[in-house]
Structure formats: C-alpha cells, structure tokens
C-alpha cells in the first residue's frame, strides 16, 4: 500500500495527471472520512446493544424493575431499541449524503486548481 504522499507531491501528481479525482490524496481522505462516520455510528449502536447483556448479568435486579408491567430489560429490548436504531440511521444518512455532495464538490474545486 503506497505511503501517503506529501502535499507537494500531490500537487505535482495533480499537475501531471490534471486530475484531482484520481489522486491518492483524494481517495485516502475520502475513505477515511467515510469510515470514520460509519465507525462512529456503528460504535454508538454496538456499545448500547452489547451493554444490555452485561447489565442483565451484573445488575439483574435493576433490569427486572417493572415499568408499566414490563420488566425494564424487556421494555428496552422489545420496544425501545428500535427507535434508537432509527435515530442512528437517520443521523448517518444525513451526514453521509452531505459528505457525498461535499466530496463531489471537492473534485470540481480540485480540477479547477482551487
């Protein structure tokens, strides 16, 4: 895997190819941004999901408290978790679509020499 080019190398690359889009710099930044967003959202959801069995294990009494007839842990897993997932997806989609138009714009800027 190629090492990250320095800024001046990239400028030379761009000049050579006349094409920011196909440069290493663009790709690396693109992937890194996308991966970061995905991982942040993924972690948010995963941490909550994976915490539930631990809470069940270590604090069973708290998780068994009745809320409107439901044990708390049943309410969380059987009902509340779904809206939580929707919220994360919503955030992710908005951010990633905004990122996509920004990335497309960067290419146009890059090609016109910024």
């Amino acid at each position: 895997m190629a090492t990250q080019p320095t800024h001046s190398e990239t400028a030379a690359e761009v000049a050579e190819k006349g094409d920011f889009l196909h440069s290493e710099l663009y790709l690396t930044q693109l992937m890194r941004r996308q991966l970061r967003l995905s991982i942040v959202c993924g972690l948010a959801f995963a941490l909550v999901l994976l915490a539930i069995p631990l809470l069940n294990y270590f604090t069973p009494d708290m998780m068994a408290t009745r809320v409107g007839g439901f044990p708390l842990t049943w309410l969380i897993l059987g009902v509340l978790f779904f809206p939580f997932v929707w919220i994360i997806s919503w955030i992710f989609i908005r951010r990633s679509l905004a990122m996509e138009s920004a990335e497309a714009q960067r290419v146009l800027d890059g090609n016109s020499g910024r």
Binding site: L50, R66, G69, T73, F82, S89
Partner: protein, 584 residues
C-alpha cells in the same frame, strides 16, 4: 377433517392474489435486465416495502412469536438483531456495493479481484446460504397448511407452496416479484397488528400480560383461574390459564439467560449462577451471528441494485429499518399472550402443532365470545404467514436462480449466449432450484423455524460479511486471502452448527449428545459459532492477503474509487453490457 372456511378463504385470496400479480407483472418483464434487477427502475417506496416484505420471512412472522412463547426474554434478541443487522449493512456495505454496480455478489467478487475462480466460490456460498434459508420457509409452509387443513400431511403443504412460487418466479423473474413483495409487506403488517390490537383490547395490555408473569423480584402468585391478586401496582385482572407441567416457569421465562441460552450449560448439570457465564457467551455469539449475518445475506444485498441511484439506495435502507422495526414489536406480543391464553400448546405432541403455530392459533380463542371474529382474525394471520414464506421464498429463488443462470451459465459455461438464451435458462434453473428447495424442506419437519434461520445467518456472518466488509474498506485484500477466510470461516461454522443439530436430533448420534453434554463451553461455541468464526475469517483474510501481497489487483485504486467516490462523478462501471451499443 374440519376446515374453517374463513381461514381457508383468506389463505386462498393471498395465494391466488400472489399468482395473479406475478402473471400481470410477467407481461412487462421483457429484457434480461428486467429479470435480474427489475430494470433498475424501482422507486424507494416500492423497493423499501418490497425488501421489508421479503425480509419478513416465516421466521419473523411465525417463528419469533413461537420462540418467545417457548423461551421468553432470550428470544427477543432475534427480532432486535434482525433489525440491527440492517443498520450494519447501511453503515459499511450498502453504499459501496451499489456504486460498484455489480448485479450479484459473485459479480462483485469477480470484479473486485479480477478473478473468475473466485466468482465460482462466491456462487457456492450464495447457493449454500440461499438453500439453507429456504428450509425454514418450507417448514412454515408445512405448518400453516397443516393448520388450515387439519390432518393434511406436512409434505403436501411444502410441495404445493414450492410449486406455486417456482411458477411465479419462472414467469416473471425479479420484476414479477417486486410488486408482490411490496404488497405483501403491508399484508403482513396488517396481519400481525390487527389481531394483536383486538386481542390486547380484550385480554389486557402488553405490559399487564407481562406483569402476570412473575420475576424473581415479585411476590409469587397462584396460577389457577382468573385474576392475579394485586401483589403489584399494575392492573391485575389479566386472564391466565394454568400452565402445564412441561412449560417453563415464570421467573426463568421472563428473565434474561433463560432456557434458550443456557441449554448447553444445563445439559452439563450446571444451574443458576454457574450456568450464567455460558449463557452470556451464547448471547454474545448469537448477537454477532444475527447482526453480521444480515449484512451478509445474498438475497437481501442484491436488492440494493434495484434502486435508480445510490442516494435512493440509502433512503431505501432507512425506510426498510422503520418498516421492519415497527413490525418486530408485534410477534413477541403474540408469544406473551400465547403463554397466558393458550398454554396447552406447550404440550403439543407433534412439532407441527407446537408453539411455532401460535400466531395462527391464538386469534381463534375469540370464537368463544365473539362468534366468527376469531376465525376471521386467524384467517388474516394465515394470510400473513403465506405472504411471509411465499415472498421470502420468491426472493431466495430469484437469487439462487440468478446465480446459476447469470453467473454459472452466462459467464462460465456459455459466455457467448444471447440475452434470450439466458432468459430461457433462468426459467429452467428456476424449476430446478424450486425442486431442490422442496426436497430440502421435506427433510426439516422436526426442526424449529427460527433455529434453521440462525444457521443461515451464522454462515453468512462468518463468510460473506467479512468478505464484503474487508474488500470494501481495505486495499490490501487479495483473492487468495478472501477465499481462504471465507471458505474456512464459513465451512467450519456450518460444520459445527450441523454437528450440534445432528447431536440433538439423530437417533444414531447419542454418543455425540453425551460428548457435547459434558462440555458446555464447546457446545455453546459449536451451536453459536459466530463469536469465533468471524474473527477467524478476518484474521485468515488479513494474514493470507499479506502473504500474497503480489496478488493485489493492479488497478485497486480505481476500484476503491468506484466503491467510494460519489456516483455523480461517473466512475461507476456497468457490468451488464446490453446498455452499451444497442440503446435500451
């Protein structure tokens, strides 16, 4: 043989409606493109309803309710993780795959690694996972028909449903089923919610029904007769019939780490606090299998290509999550109500009449007080069940047939075949796959629907998911690395799961059963292999890819650009050539 006319009527309407819609759409399916990915013209609304419809299989519709009734809290992980898997798909895989533009996963495998050999390996997994997933649908079909026609043998239900769907797919391909599946989402949603609302109105709320089952914190209450004495604050007048001796006890049923996840430990004689760590391990492995497995199901992934663009594909996933999330709140309610109101199912002699059928059976109790209302609602849930296994089976059949016709025939056997020839082979392969699925379905009468689905997910989680995830985000992947990880991870998981099923069910394998019983840790890991299978696959992929560094595709940067750069920049490759040259 007493056939309830209402139930029969609703079921028949669903079945014939499906066939009719399939025929209607078949007329408009003209090109190979139409057959394979619905002409890439399906809108977000239709497509999200269609994906949701296809996703809500017999396991979702019937199996979860049955499993909640049998196993209580632990079964809740299934609906939650089924839904969460979609989020995983959205976050890591959906966008890039869509941009890449391949019609099938084997296409992606070949395109990403420039390797026709890898395509063949990928196709094998499409077939493996796909056929596994057809088995619970067939079981659902058998159970449902045995319910509508008491006394009907299991194999008749399987054969009839299999034949109908095969016909539908052979005639219309994917476009033929998209409309069907979109409608069927709403049919299933209606079918699961309306009876629930009616039952809850009469028999008390979700919460109060749960309240009637006591946790270790509550004062134990007598279980005979009607009202539960007011030991707790919530409404205490919930009807509850007496539990048979074979039924799980309240405290274990309603609490985490119940029977479902502690079975390996209890088989070894451990109880209570000693069994809990194994249960925790089982739970985490199950979560990983279900969440990562969703992202790896080939027949779901291929749906992403039916959107006109990448933005639409993402929006579709959002809607799918909402649609299926709303759906999944309901089946557990059936399980809870079923425990309180129809506990005799715990003692059913034949598997086909057990808790898996609670969704179909429960509404009938309304017949005592409200005449035919019970039968009508039961007919509605039957219609929903039909919609469930028919639509999922359709999707699977298209995916399996597409793999054979497009990948094996079109690319490997006869690359020079015309579009027309491929369309014809599609129909031929549809019939073959349908027949195989029916035969497999006949073999699984004694297995639980949701357990069967768990297999498919575990295999997908340890094979396809790591392949897709790493290929999308890591340039250093090579074909040997991907193939090694996928094969070893997937096949080992498959073998270990199958070995536990054989140990449980086969009369000739009792020595296996005792061997497993003495080793709860091994048993837990064998029954739920994702927690070791997924890391194993990833590690193998990384190590072997590093070792075969020279085999990284030369134009990997271009490939990664296609995967990640916005579609509007025009980097997308079109794999199906018919859009070039002759205008479409």
């Amino acid at each position: 043989m007493h056939i309830d006319p209402w139930i029969l009527a609703f079921a028949a309407v669903t079945v014939f409606g499906t066939i009719w819609m399939g025929f209607r759409s078949a007329g408009t399916a003209k090109t190979a493109s139409d057959f394979f990915v619905a002409g890439r013209s399906v809108s977000v609304g239709w497509n999200s309803a269609a994906i949701s419809g296809e996703y809500l299989s017999a396991a979702s519709f019937m199996g979860i309710a049955g499993m909640v009734m049998t196993s209580g809290y632990d079964a809740l992980w299934y609906p939650v993780c089924f839904a969460c898997g979609y989020l995983f798909l959205l976050l890591f895989i959906a966008g890039p795959l869509r941009r890449f533009g391949a019609y099938t996963i084997p296409d992606f495998a070949e395109g990403r690694f420039d390797s026709p050999a890898f395509r063949r390996i990928a196709v094998c997994f499409v077939l493996f996972i796909g056929f596994f997933y057809t088995m619970p649908q067939m079981k659902g079909a058998g159970v449902t028909l045995a319910y509508i026609f008491p006394g009907l043998p299991y194999w008749v239900g399987v054969a009839v449903v299999g034949a109908v769907i095969t016909l539908n797919v052979a005639l219309g391909g994917m476009k033929g089923i998209t409309l069907v599946q979109a409608v069927q989402y709403w049919a299933k949603m209606f079918a699961i919610s309306v009876p629930v609302f009616v039952l809850l109105a009469i028999y008390g709320s979700y919460g109060s029904n749960l309240n009637a089952n006591k946790t270790h914190l509550d004062v134990p209450a007598p279980m005979v007769g009607q009202a539960v004495p007011g030991a707790s604050s919530a409404a205490s007048s919930v009807v509850r019939k007496e539990l048979p001796a074979t039924a799980p006890m309240d405290a274990k049923w309603i609490s985490p780490f119940g029977a479902l996840t502690t079975k390996p430990a209890t088989a070894a004689g451990l109880t209570g606090a000693a069994a809990k760590p194994y249960s925790l391990l089982y739970t985490y492995s199950l979560i990983i299998a279900l969440v990562c497995g969703t992202a790896g199901l080939p027949h779901i992934l291929v749906r992403f290509y039916t959107n006109p663009d990448g933005v639409a594909a993402k929006r579709t996933t959002m809607w799918v999550m909402i649609l299926i999330g709303v759906f999944y709140v309901f089946p557990p309610v059936f399980g809870v109500l079923g425990r309180n109101l129809m506990p005799e199912l715990y003692e059913a002699a034949k598997k086909v009449e057990g808790t898996d059928s609670i969704v179909l059976q429960l509404p009938r109790i309304l017949n005592e007080k409200y005449g035919i209302l019970g039968s009508v609602l039961s007919g509605i849930t039957c219609a929903g069940a039909f919609a469930a296994f028919m639509s999922t089976f359709s999707g699977l059949l298209v995916s399996l047939t597409g793999a054979l016709a497009h990948d094996i025939y079109g690319r490997i056997l006869r690359p020079k075949s015309t579009s027309e020839q491929r369309m014809r082979m599609f129909k031929v392969f549809a019939v073959i796959c349908g027949a195989v699925a029916i035969l497999l379905g006949l073999a699984v009468e004694s297995f639980e629907i949701t357990k069967l689905v768990g297999w498919a997910f575990a295999i997908a989680a340890t094979s396809y998911f790591p392949l897709l995830f790493l290929s999308t985000w890591w340039r250093g992947m090579t074909m040997p690395g991907a193939a090694t990880g996928m094969l070893i991870g997937g096949v080992l998981s498959l073998l270990s799961v199958v070995s536990t099923m054989i140990a449980d069910q086969a009369p000739w394998a009792t020595s296996w059963k005792t061997w497993y019983a003495a080793r709860p840790l091994v048993r837990t890991l064998a029954e739920q292999p994702a927690i070791w299978g997924l890391p194993l696959a990833i590690i193998l992929m990384v190590i072997v890819s590093r070792a075969t560094r020279s085999k990284v595709p030369a134009d990997v940067r271009m490939k990664m650009l296609v995967l990640h750069a916005p579609e509007s920049l025009g980097l997308k490759q079109e794999y199906i050539k018919e859009h070039e040259g002759v205008g479409h």
